[in-house]
């Protein structure tokens, strides 16, 4: 990224300010140089290895920072401590994951996305509804989740139903907007073709417009994955049973159980990335024909 000279200068400056800083800078640039070199190799495994090295580098730097600078574990625990916590608390983490991800986030995600797709198809026939609903929808989408969550808890109770409701609201509009755009994404010529066949509305929908909308829909679905998990966790801050990732985090803050908090965060990041990855994989299968997917395929 930076020239070798600049790197050396930065490392030297680091050593002058604080030897520990120098060590960390040297480590960082070393790993980066390795990665930059690897990235030039065009082998297929590189795409997997480079991000992993990057991640490992960040974790190693974190560990170094905590031990070199003697950071208190109640401020920032070391990755090793977090790992130790994960290993010893697997049953708890699993129970929390079940409650928050599988019950809250996933249910909400499925309901929200399905509802958005159906509504998109319904209002697609009415320009009037689209012009009226989409701006209002954008407005609703701008309502901050921290304000919505307590209301949902009040309406739907403290168990996972209210979390799912928050997720439904969060994912609905991104998916709706994308789906509406997707349904419009057919070219005039493609529509004219259907018209020369005198195809019915439903035939046109199924054979032309739904397939053409898929790339857009998946854009929305991918955004929605990250929103779903955040929504479910945050909603637990406003009332919950005594299980769940958000519950665990609030409860542990009070007893300074930071390794446990970070363990939950790690699970959240892992689950979120995996969720995103799965949706991206399905996208690849479904929209194999789209140029953006084809280019990735041949490289």
């Amino acid at each position: 990224m930076t020239g070798l000279g600049v790197q050396a200068a930065l490392i030297a400056a680091g050593f002058l300010i604080d030897a520990r800083l120098g060590v960390m800078l040297a480590f960082w640039f070393g790993a980066w140089t390795l990665n930059a070199g690897l990235a030039e190799l065009r082998a297929p495994w590189v795409r997997r290895v480079v991000p992993m090295i990057f991640g490992v580098t960040v974790l190693a730097l974190w560990e170094m920072a905590v031990s070199l600078f003697d950071i208190s574990p109640v401020i920032l625990p070391a990755p090793s401590a977090i790992w130790a916590q994960i290993v010893t608390s697997l049953p708890t983490l699993w129970a929390d994951f079940l409650q928050t991800f599988l019950k809250g986030a996933l249910t909400g995600y499925v309901i929200g996305c399905a509802a958005a797709v159906v509504v998109a198809i319904l209002i697609d026939r009415s320009p009037f509804l689209q012009r009226g609903l989409l701006p209002v929808g954008n407005f609703v989408a701008a309502l901050p989740i921290v304000g919505i969550a307590p209301i949902m808890v009040m309406w739907f109770g403290f168990d996972w139903h209210s979390k799912a409701a928050v997720v439904v609201i969060m994912v609905f509009f991104p998916v709706l907007v994308n789906m509406v755009a997707g349904l419009k994404a057919t070219e005039p010529m493609q529509r004219d073709l259907m018209s020369t066949y005198s195809a019915s509305y439903w035939q046109t929908l199924v054979k032309l417009r739904l397939p053409a909308a898929m790339p857009f829909l998946f854009n929305g679905l991918k955004i929605a994955t990250t929103l779903a998990l955040i929504g479910a966790i945050v909603a637990e801050f406003f009332g919950s049973p005594i299980v769940g990732m958000g519950f665990r985090i609030t409860a542990e803050i009070g007893r300074l159980g930071l390794p446990m908090i970070w363990a939950e965060i790690a699970v959240a990041a892992l689950a979120g990335s995996a969720f995103y990855g799965v949706v991206a994989l399905i996208e690849k299968r479904v929209t194999f024909w789209h140029p953006s997917q084809r280019r990735q395929g041949t490289e």
């Binding site: 701006p135 307590p150 979120g272």
Partner: protein, 287 residues
């Protein structure tokens, strides 16, 4: 303008449904109260009471409107009860955070487009970063920054930046990569250098993508600021209005703050949309 009538129709429909929902959801409380007093209540009495409760489950539209009006026009703007005052506190941190966030997002995107190693390593981790529950780490960020002597609006702005950089990175990477092979080849035949290709081709062609992601980013920024306001001790800002409203069960106050936040977000998005139209028209990209 063409959309005004449809929007009004939809809003009217929503308000209608809202009133019905308010009656339905608030009625339980009215019946419970009556039962505790051993009274019987008639339907019309119930309707009247559901729409004017102190702590409704769902406040009626006119209650929210009144809350908004009181908050905006009923106070001096410097008053702690003024939504304008709290809105300004939130807005200033939002703007700062949005500036940080979009700058970081654009820089990262340039790095990703021009550097293979960054392309491979940054994106998966950027996605992972967005799956971290921000509300969980916000207090830690505030505490750590505090211990480094950073206080005031900057910590809030950093949380707000954290939420807004992601859409900008995604959109900008897409935008900077949007020139097709032929346009890039053209630059090669001119033997244009990296900066020229960037300034004359990649940057201009990324503009539509940039604005689209800035709109998403600014809304995310606002949410970030509100989240960041909670662990600073709920001192001021729309976030603390939401929180204190929630703490004291003042539903109307929550809803008023909620709408204030959404109006703020909608205006920010509107302003960016306006800038977008002006810039793209200058560039000849609007027909």
């Amino acid at each position: 303008m063409r959309s005004l009538f449809p929007i009004l129709t939809v809003v009217a429909a929503i308000i209608g449904v809202w009133y019905l929902a308010a009656i339905w959801m608030n009625a339980t409380w009215v019946y419970d109260q009556a039962a505790r007093d051993g009274r019987e209540v008639g339907f019309s009495e119930v309707v009247g009471q559901t729409l004017n409760q102190e702590r409704p489950v769902l406040p009626a539209p006119h209650q929210v409107a009144k809350g908004l009006w009181d908050g905006v026009a009923g106070q001096k703007v410097t008053s702690k009860r003024s939504l304008v005052y709290h809105g300004w506190v939130t807005l200033s941190a939002t703007l700062l955070g949005f500036a940080f966030g979009s700058a970081a997002g654009i820089l990262l995107a340039v790095g990703i487009v021009y550097n293979r190693a960054m392309d491979m390593s940054v994106m998966p981790w950027a996605i992972a970063s967005q799956t971290i529950p921000i509300l969980a780490i916000a207090p830690m960020i505030i505490v750590v920054l505090n211990s480094l002597g950073v206080t005031g609006i900057v910590p809030k702005a950093i949380i707000s930046a954290y939420l807004s950089f992601f859409p900008v990175v995604v959109g900008m990477v897409k935008g900077l990569r949007s020139p097709d092979a032929m346009q890039l080849d053209l630059m090669r035949t001119y033997n244009a250098n990296g900066a020229q290709t960037f300034g004359k081709l990649r940057l201009p062609s990324s503009m539509p993508y940039l604005f689209a992601s800035l709109k998403v980013g600014v809304a995310a920024s606002l949410v970030g600021t509100i989240v960041g306001e909670l662990p600073t001790g709920a001192v001021a800002g729309l976030g603390s209005r939401l929180l204190s409203g929630s703490y004291y069960g003042q539903t109307v106050q929550i809803w008023a703050a909620l709408f204030a936040a959404a109006i703020l977000a909608a205006s920010l998005v509107g302003i960016i949309g306006w800038v977008e139209r002006v810039v793209l028209a200058r560039m000849g990209l609007v027909r």
